[in-house]
């Protein structure tokens, strides 16, 4: 709550107040100021950038590839993806609405000019200041937290820490462009094997033009000595970001990966079409956590990030496990379905999600659990909070194939509605072809009840604290899955986003 800019109630509300919505209007007048907290991380760092002019064709892709010094096979792969992408239609099925994107108006490459830094001291001080404003403690983390940060500022990695320590353990943690140069055989083997370029429209676009991202390889029987983390930040105006993340956990290994995002305030919509591929071999485990707080647009929905992401994990080996945890509070439009293909016998997929939509934010998010192997298990816990004019959909698929003996799924999706102009939808698809499968799905939609509020208030809690407490309780199941550092950040984000917005 510290960040709430105005404490004066009664921000003018433009909508006509019909009889039926009078209650909501009153509520808005009473508490509206509390949800109107301005975007905290809205600032632009002025730094020289090496940006390609907007537009997309083969020559742009060739330029990207050349500037990154990629081998020929990578360029061929990109061009093949581009050719396929040209034939793909823009997907229309999601319950989100936006003006058609002009893919020729986007600049597909932007990199801070300074390169080849040996230490953090050489990083542009303006950049470091930006990170400080965002609260990314690169310096501190070196000494304290034991978190290696591969901070991405626009599209090229500029600072990587703890590389050596990881190298000792044999873990490869670098930007994907470096990986293409240094470990071409690994990249070539795994890239596109979970999310092929033909998978969907935005994955195709990403495959053609991805500029950077992260590559992680954990060798056999290795437990990654620290939590890996990348902070993404979109900075250059009119720059789409096309990150590509590839994480391979070889037999018997474990890795936990944290992804967090903030972006400065902009008036143009920015497209972000990332692809994340996870591969877990026998007995391996990957834990992937996301806190996403990109600029959601202003109260009328102007500006804001379009977040169209393809995330998929492949439990290739027996007894492997992939766990997705996400806290989505930002972006004008979120469209992502972190999925698990449970191929190996006894493999486990998990999906924990908290999504918040307010203002004019739209989110169509969920997961797919494809059970192919025997005795595969999956858990889905999705918590949606919708306020003001937010629209939120859970869209999930649980498919249990004929050969998935003894597969097990439990799905729970709950929605909390705050105000009468928001929406919460649930679209689960459940396909079961094996009689030994056990599958449960439950969903509820409700608001914060007056009783709950009254109880807390009668114990002397302020309205804001009470709501914060109830919402946090609502999301607790998911927060518990986050690594410690993220859990704190996520709770704070949630409080800033929603505290006091009682419906």
């Amino acid at each position: 709550m510290s960040a709430t800019p105005q404490d004066l109630p009664g921000q003018p509300v433009a909508e006509q107040r019909s009889g039926a919505s009078r209650k909501a209007a009153e509520t808005e007048a009473e508490y509206g100021h509390l949800v109107k907290s301005e975007y905290e991380h809205g600032f632009v760092t002025e730094i020289e950038s090496d940006t390609l002019p907007p537009g997309l064709d083969e020559s742009v892709i060739a330029t990207i590839s050349r500037r990154k010094g990629e081998p020929q096979w990578m360029l061929d792969w990109r061009l093949a993806a581009y050719a396929k992408w040209l034939e793909m239609p823009t997907p229309q099925w999601a319950a989100v609405h936006y003006a058609p994107i002009d893919f020729q108006a986007i600049s597909y490459f932007s990199a801070p000019k300074k390169k080849e830094l040996k230490s953090l001291d050489e990083v542009d001080p303006v950049l470091l200041e930006t990170y400080e404003k965002l609260g990314i403690p690169i310096e501190e983390q070196k000494a304290l937290a034991g978190v290696a940060v591969d901070a991405v500022f626009d599209s090229v990695s500029v600072a990587t820490t703890f590389r050596e320590k990881l190298a000792e353990a044999g873990v490869i943690f670098c930007s994907i462009s470096e990986a293409v140069q240094e470990y071409p055989e690994l990249v070539q083997k795994y890239i596109g094997s979970v999310v092929p370029p033909t998978d969907n429209f935005y994955a195709g676009l990403n495959s053609a033009v991805f500029t950077d991202g992260t590559f992680v390889y954990v060798p056999k029987h290795t437990r990654c000595p620290m939590e890996l983390s990348t902070y993404f930040r979109i900075n250059e105006a009119k720059t789409g970001q096309f990150e590509r993340t590839l994480i391979v956990a070889d037999e018997g290994s474990y890795v936990s990966y944290l992804e967090g995002c903030t972006a400065p305030q902009r008036d143009e919509n920015q497209l972000h079409a990332a692809v994340v591929e996870l591969i877990a071999m026998d007995n391996a485990e990957i834990k992937y956590s996301t806190v996403q707080n990109w600029y959601p647009g202003d109260e009328e929905g102007r500006g804001g990030i379009y977040n169209f992401v393809t995330k998929r994990g492949d439990c290739r080996g027996a007894n492997s496990k992939i766990s997705w945890t996400q806290v989505e509070t930002g972006s004008a439009i979120t469209w992502k379905y972190p999925s698990c293909i449970l191929r190996g016998d006894h493999s486990v997929g998990e999906f924990y999600s908290v999504a918040v939509t307010k203002g004019r934010q739209q989110a169509d998010t969920g997961t797919k659990m494809i059970h192919l192997g025997k005795h595969t298990r999956s858990t889905i816990v999705s918590k949606g909070i919708s306020a003001q004019h937010g629209i939120q959909s859970y869209r999930g698929l649980v498919r249990i194939a004929g050969k998935a003996e003894g597969a097990r799924n439990h799905t729970q999706c709950d929605s909390l509605l705050i105000g009468d102009k928001c929406a919460a939808n649930t679209f689960p698809y459940i396909e079961v072809k094996n009689p030994t499968a056990k599958m449960e799905h439950e969903a509820t939609t409700s608001k914060i009840s007056d009783d709950q509020l009254f109880y807390c208030r009668s114990r002397g809690l302020s309205e804001e604290d009470a709501v914060s407490m109830i919402v946090n309780g609502f999301c607790k199941e998911v927060f518990n899955e986050l690594p410690m550092e993220f859990a704190v950040e996520a709770q704070k984000l949630l409080s800033i986003s929603l505290e006091g917005a009682v419906g």
């Binding site: 939808n425 396909e431 079961v432 094996n434 009689p435 056990k438 449960e440 799905h441 969903a443």
Partner: protein, 453 residues
């Protein structure tokens, strides 16, 4: 069918402006409608024909038909039933009746009202039952507010086909305050012809304010003939009216069955519908509920048994457009052999439909390898002060339960049947009519007996 699903149906199918020869052309009436038909009905037919032409055949990409393939249906080359079948005698019905069921009976043979088989002599005051054609001939505007109005234009292609090709059906009108004690039985009897025929009966059920009626709707056939039924029921409930609607679908094992129940509920009215789906090779049922007044209650439950190579599909679409209405859905299914069951339930709560109370549940028992369940319980909610939930399960018979029964000396096959019947019992017992419950229970038991459990 939700509006959204329909949009997608159209988007994928309405290609170009000029309609080509569609696969449903054979279903459309060849000649102009009978003279004397009221103008509004002719207009509705023309519009429906137009919709059929532009919509075309739904494909697997159309949201409402994702899991329900139409190829088998289209391959049969059905043509409309041309003339009513008068050769049936009352004695022919004997084997098809529900033993011990005391009801006013109205019989429809191959889609046409058959007065000579019906038993409508002692209808109570305030209740009128007759054929659709006869009713329209008598008073062309009697049904102007209901016929083709309740189902509306948004219905899917088969409802449009029914509107375009509707011949006959049954009209049930209960006056204001009419309390009908004995249930009304609506028996659809299908008789196979030399060629595969499609019957498209259209029924209108209208209950005046405060009227109470129990309607038992049954689908049966003589022999295991190949035929298709494409029925539409339009039900209008007045203020505080109560309709208990029991639907028992026991079509022949080779039959194709399509039925749409379109419901408009007035303020404070109550609809209590139970669907039992056992028969047919391929069956699709749409239950579409719209509220026209507050404090209305709608209760939809169902039991389906999809056996070998059988497809049973229920699509529910409940739209809460007004505040303070309640809806409940409770569907249970048993699937065995290579059977396939599809359940799609949509609860839509419009903006300002505050204090909506909606709960949906769909539970399935999968009994064999090769059986498939596709379920899609959807919530779309645009109001905040609501109580909405849904739950779905798919599973097999609990080994613990089986072990318990077997430890009591009950053989495995019987134990499995007992557990299945127990699972189905919740819905069967809710039927409320002893004779009917016994009849359904026996039919379910027989089916389970025949199933290789």
């Amino acid at each position: 069918m939700s509006a959204q699903a329909l949009e997608s149906d159209r988007a994928t199918n309405a290609v170009g402006g000029v309609p080509e020869a569609g696969p449903f052309d054979a279903w459309l009436p060849a000649s102009a409608p009978a003279t004397g038909e009221p103008g509004w009905l002719t207009a509705a037919r023309t519009a429906a024909t137009e919709r059929v032409r532009t919509q075309g055949v739904p494909t697997g990409k159309s949201e409402g038909w994702r899991y329900t393939g139409l190829r088998a249906l289209l391959e049969q080359g059905f043509t409309p039933v041309d003339e009513p079948l008068d050769a049936m005698l009352r004695e022919d019905l004997d084997d098809l009746l529900v033993p011990g069921l005391d009801a006013h009976r109205v019989v429809v043979v191959n889609g046409s009202f058959a007065p000579h088989l019906s038993d409508l002599d002692d209808l109570p005051k305030g209740l009128r039952i007759g054929g659709l054609r006869a009713t329209l001939a008598e008073d062309p505007d009697a049904l102007a507010d209901d016929l083709a109005r309740i189902a509306g234009d948004g219905a899917h292609v088969f409802a449009s086909l029914n509107t375009a090709g509707m011949g006959d059906g049954v009209v049930l009108l209960a006056d204001r305050g009419a309390l009908v004690e004995k249930p009304v039985e609506l028996l659809h009897l299908s008789v196979g012809m030399d060629e595969p025929k499609v019957a498209q009966p259209r029924h209108v059920i209208r209950l005046g304010d405060g009227a109470r009626v129990t309607l038992i709707e049954r689908w049966a056939s003589l022999g295991d003939a190949l035929y298709c039924n494409n029925a539409v029921l339009e039900i209008g409930l007045g203020r505080d009216a109560v309709l208990a609607h029991r639907r028992v679908q026991l079509e022949s094992p080779s039959a194709f069955h399509l039925s749409g129940v379109y419901l408009r509920q007035g303020a404070g009215s109550r609809y209590d519908g139970i669907n039992v789906g056992l028969g047919g090779r391929w069956a699709r049922t749409d239950l579409v509920v719209r509220f026209a007044g507050e404090h209305a209650e709608c209760d939809l439950s169902g039991l389906y048994l999809a056996g070998d190579k059988q497809l049973i599909d229920y699509h529910l679409d409940v739209q809460h457009g007004l505040p303070r209405c309640t809806s409940r859905e409770n569907f249970k299914g048993i699937v065995h052999g290579k059977g396939k069951a599809v359940f799609d339930g949509l609860v839509y709560v419009a903006k300002d439909a505050q204090q909506t109370d909606a709960a949906m549940s769909n539970r399935n028992l999968l009994l064999s390898q090769g059986a498939e369940v596709d379920t899609k319980p959807r919530l779309e909610i645009y109001a905040d002060d609501v109580k909405c939930s849904h739950g779905t399960t798919v599973g097999q018979i609990e080994p613990e339960m089986l072990f318990y029964l077997r430890s009591r000396g009950i053989p495995e096959g019987l134990a499995r049947r007992m557990l299945c019947l127990g699972f189905a019992g919740e819905i069967i017992n809710a039927l409320g009519n002893e004779a009917l419950a016994g009849y359904v229970s026996e039919a379910v038991g027989g089916r389970l007996q025949a199933a290789p459990l």
